[in-house]
């Protein structure tokens, strides 16, 4: 597995500061608050997948902040932890800020203590002080500083309180103006003795590397690939040379003679930070009562045996219904405006006396497809993304993973796959990158291979359009939106079900293995920041996805116009190509044009329906492509309800878009797996479509 070691481009005079912390402690909020929201990456559901970097300044000090992936430990069990660990140890950071959650201080201190063991340049940032106050927890920061021996700063990042003090302390630590902390909580005496012996035999460690104490602990634990990697990074001989290796094995032997075998030694080393965190939290936190009663009540609603699954489906349905009902009006408005612009453009072309082919290629080709993509995609995305982000901010996504874990367990996959699947609803490519949170390489591959079985936002509009045209009918008003949402919920449930099925098939065939154990934290619920969520999701997600779609739609519109208007032997190229595809497509209940549209839509699924419509229109034009006109056009082109159903199935299950394929190639490092990731959903889709079409034919439906 490759390392995702972030590359830092540091400018002279800058202080490099790493930002570490558990997931869900508001680390990204601290990062965004410090860098002034200059950083828009990594705000997809779940977590900071790749390392974000941003800059800020305080007085004369300039900082380069590196936002590390959220992790619980530095022991490098997963690719993310490895990236965080490697950067803390070897990334050349001048200081590390460890962000802790004031409402779950003891839990989040564990990582802080591990970081403190690696480097002495640590600032502990206790975030979410405002939340703690709401839960009637009082945190004594001075007492905590006494316990930890490193600067502690209290912060409420969402309200932007305490950030200046945080930067001030960070600058002091980075410039080594603070005292080197003493070891506060030593290991049991025999282990300390062993560590001292190993330390004495270590070769010199270059400055900026991890502490000798941490290296000694790793050597004493021994027996892992880890120590070799660490010594490589430090530029030391393998395993820090024979003297250190010998000292370590001597020390282990001596401990074993005294009755502390390897297991007991590891247990004692593991217990130390836990006990330290316990005493530090006990000294710092005083609580008059049970502050998490509300969380318990909410959990009884969201994850209990009786209500967990129904509430989850209801939420999914609710989000889709709001999206559909809310998107109708702006969609019509946008479409009317954009097509009015088209008329104006046409008039301008005529007035200039531009040749007909130029007008056709640019206005009827490029502009028309572009206008369509914008008017169809923008409104649903602008509603869906913020709603989704609100649920994410609220802390609901880990609960989805909790509710669905049993299915993934039966599929011999990782429970965290539920989280990456949720990311896939936004964008499959992002979901694939998100699979880095899965520890086991086998389970990670399963998650990657099945990532495109849930519809991404690029596919929602197409599926939705067809569903509402053919299965909801021309009914207006709230009833239609409800029915559309219900059907779309069904489509999504089908996709999720297929994810389980394919994961199971994969883990029984090419990726055989037993499910690895997993632990999942259910973070406290938090009131989402509605305003920020809307801004963030509109700018980060909606415009990003839209921009990508538009960038693909414009050339695709041109290609389709050329295909439709260049003739060979009296027949347009488009008719040649779609005619060649037609017999095969008919087997699947589709037609040649639809299949061609899916093939041309490889760069971005959003443009499939616009391309199909353009192809049907061929050389003709339409003033306005609203729902009714589109329905009439499709019916004229021979669509039946069976065609519509098969098109929906095929857009749910077919090859992933080019971006996703490239991402899979990058993440798996293998063409073979990339090919399988394309073949798997395609096979599923073709199989289902063939089955549907054949059944329909047998039952006498027109196909």
């Amino acid at each position: 597995m490759e390392t995702f070691f972030p590359v830092v481009q540091r400018q002279p005079g800058e202080l490099t500061v790493a930002l570490a912390g558990n997931p869900n402690v508001g680390k990204s909020t601290v990062f965004n608050a410090l860098t002034g929201m200059n950083q828009h990456t990594g705000n997809w559901p779940g977590k900071t997948v790749s390392t974000a970097q941003g800059r800020c300044r305080r007085g004369k000090d300039r900082f380069l902040l590196v936002d590390l992936p959220g992790t619980y430990s530095l022991l490098a069990h997963s690719a993310e932890e490895e990236a965080a660990r490697d950067f803390v140890c070897f990334g050349g950071a001048d200081a590390v800020i460890v962000v802790c959650d004031a409402t779950r201080l003891e839990r989040s201190l564990n990582l802080a203590l591990q970081v403190i063991e690696v480097t002495d340049r640590v600032v502990v940032c206790v975030n979410l002080l405002d939340e703690a106050r709401k839960k009637r927890l009082s945190i004594n920061l001075n007492a905590l500083q006494q316990e930890l021996g490193v600067p502690v700063v209290g912060v409420s990042a969402r309200a932007r309180r305490g950030l200046d003090a945080l930067l001030e302390q960070t600058a002091r630590v980075a410039r080594r103006e603070t005292a080197v902390p003493a070891v506060r909580q030593p290991y049991p005496q025999p282990i300390e003795k062993a560590l001292a012996a190993i330390q004495a035999s270590l070769p010199p460690i270059p400055p900026g590397g991890p502490s000798v104490r941490w290296i000694s602990v790793r050597l004493l634990c021994g027996g892992s690939e880890d120590t070799r990697r660490i010594s490589d990074f430090c530029g030391c001989p393998p395993d820090f040379g024979p003297a250190a290796s010998a000292a370590a094995s001597d020390a282990r032997a001596a401990l074993a003679r005294d009755g502390a075998g390897r297991q007991k030694l590891l247990d004692q080393i593991a217990a130390c930070p836990v006990l330290w965190a316990e005493s530090a939290a006990a000294a710092a936190v005083s609580s008059p009562g049970r502050g998490d009663a509300l969380d318990r009540r909410l959990d009884r609603l969201f994850i209990s045996r009786r209500t967990g699954i129904p509430v989850m489906l209801l939420l999914l349905f609710g989000v889709l219904w709001l999206t559909i009902a809310g998107a109708n009006i702006p969609s019509q408005w946008l479409s009317a405006r954009l097509f009015a612009v088209q008329d104006w453009l046409s008039a301008q072309f005529m007035a200039c006396g531009a040749p007909e082919w130029l007008h056709g290629a640019l206005v009827l080709g490029v502009y028309q497809v572009l206008a369509w993509v914008v008017s169809v995609m923008l409104p649903p995305m602008a509603i869906f993304f913020p709603l989704f982000t609100l649920l994410e901010d609220f802390g609901y996504l880990p609960r989805v993973a909790f509710n669905l874990d049993c299915c993934f367990q039966k599929a011999c996959a990782c429970g965290k796959q539920a989280l990456t699947m949720c990311m896939c609803f936004g964008c499959n490519a992002v979901g694939v990158t998100g699979c880095r949170i899965i520890d086991s390489p086998r389970e990670r591959l399963i998650a990657i291979l099945t990532s495109s079985l849930v519809p991404c936002n690029g596919r929602f509009p197409a599926i939705l359009t067809i569903l509402s045209l053919f299965f909801v009918g021309a009914a207006e008003g709230p009833g239609a939106a409800l029915l559309s949402a219900l059907l779309l919920t069904g489509v999504i449930v089908l996709g999720v079900g297929m994810t389980f099925l394919c994961s199971r098939v994969l883990s029984k065939t090419v990726l055989r293995g037993i499910p690895s154990g997993f632990t999942l934290e259910l973070p406290p619920y938090r009131a989402p920041q509605v305003g920020k969520v809307i801004i963030r999701s509109v700018f980060d997600r909606t415009l990003f996805v839209l921009g990508r779609a538009a960038a693909v739609a414009a050339p695709a519109g041109l290609v389709i116009w050329v295909l439709a208007n260049v003739t060979a032997g009296g027949v347009s190229l488009l008719a040649h190509v779609s005619g060649a595809l037609d017999p095969f497509a008919r087997l699947l209940g589709l037609d040649g044009v639809i299949l061609l549209a899916f093939i041309l839509g490889f760069p971005a699924n959003e443009i499939v329906i616009p391309i199909a419509a353009m192809a049907y229109l061929s050389t003709g034009t339409l003033a306005d492509l609203d729902g009714l006109a589109l329905h009439a056009l499709l019916l004229r082109s021979g669509w039946t309800p069976v065609t519509a159903l098969c098109t929906v199935l095929f857009s749910l299950f077919h090859w992933p878009c080019s971006t996703t394929c490239l991402t899979i190639r990058r993440e798996t490092g293998s063409l073979r797996w990339t090919f399988l990731a394309m073949a798997l959903p395609t096979a599923v889709g073709m199989g289902l479509c063939f089955l549907t079409a054949s059944c329909a034919r047998l039952l006498g439906f027109p196909v």
Partner: protein, 76 residues
Amino acid sequence: MNTEPLSCLREGQHARVLSITESGAMRRRLQDIGLIEGTVVECIQKSPSGDPVAYGIRGAVIALRRAQAASVIVQR
């Protein structure tokens, strides 16, 4: 006082950790979330299918699959 695996706890019950039978990386992971000898664990909520189960461990709520919970020996 009888001992039992953590997975046998019913919702609302508390117990004290005695030992872990899991070994290797998973053992360390369980220790990292705070399951060391003497830690008091509360069974908070079972999932819709009964597996995994959410436990209250040192102020945090953490879900464990039955296989992992069965490897933690506790005393009520």
